[in-house]
Symmetry: C2
Subunit: 133 residues, 2 copies
């Protein structure tokens, strides 16, 4: 999915960038199987870049800069379709990932499931602690 | 899914409430069909309430209070499973909704798809403007 700069600007101008640093929430979902892959934030420039290049870009709240997912790892997220929510402050991007999405090597950043007070790595079926990777 | 208060407190204490008002991002997905339904924010109390009651609670950034989704409409979100992301600042809640999720009556808040610079109501196949509902 790629759109012209004019089309993209018209859409980007409508969103409500009400979150930190002037962003919308961006949920990324695997277009093939429905797996929710990660969540990030996009400012207006990141929205424009995502729609014009066809690859997901975010605004990094910690580094305070635009980044293309996969710019280092090569595991880019190719955009297949984009949805906006009712109050225009969140978007849903369905993608085809070009590699594992999580920096841990998992297919999704949401790879740990909470079960009865324990945390399970649902891809591997292992019981784990709840520590940051 | 309901857990004991002790189990829930242990998990809630591990999350990184780094977003506005001390919140994590919460993505809500339909457990039956993978549809992404809505996005919200949860502070620690909302996480605890969600896990102990088995119904999704959020922190409202605009009203600055806890609310249970469906407290007015009756369209509650029954929790089926919960996942945490790699850096512990986002959770994914798979639910069975007890009614349409969006206040517009749509099944999901992400009911508008961007197609070549236009916006389509993908549930109804209608071309629409991109205005807030």
């Amino acid at each position: 999915m790629r759109m012209s700069r004019e089309e993209v600007e018209a859409i980007a101008s409508k969103l409500n960038y009400r979150h930190r640093d002037g962003t919308v929430v961006a949920v990324v979902q695997d277009a093939r199987n429905g797996l929710v892959l990660m969540v990030g934030f996009m400012n207006r420039d990141a929205v424009v870049l995502t729609l014009t290049t066809g690859y997901v870009h975010f605004w990094s709240l910690s580094r305070r800069r635009i980044w293309m997912k996969g710019e280092t790892s090569g595991h880019r997220l190719r955009v297949q379709s984009v949805y906006v929510d009712c109050d225009l402050d969140a978007i849903l991007v369905k993608v085809v990932p070009e590699g594992p999405v999580c920096h841990t090597g998992h297919l999704t950043c949401f790879y740990r499931r909470i079960v009865d007070g324990n945390v399970w790595d649902y891809e591997l079926g292992l019981k784990r602690g709840l520590e940051r990777d």
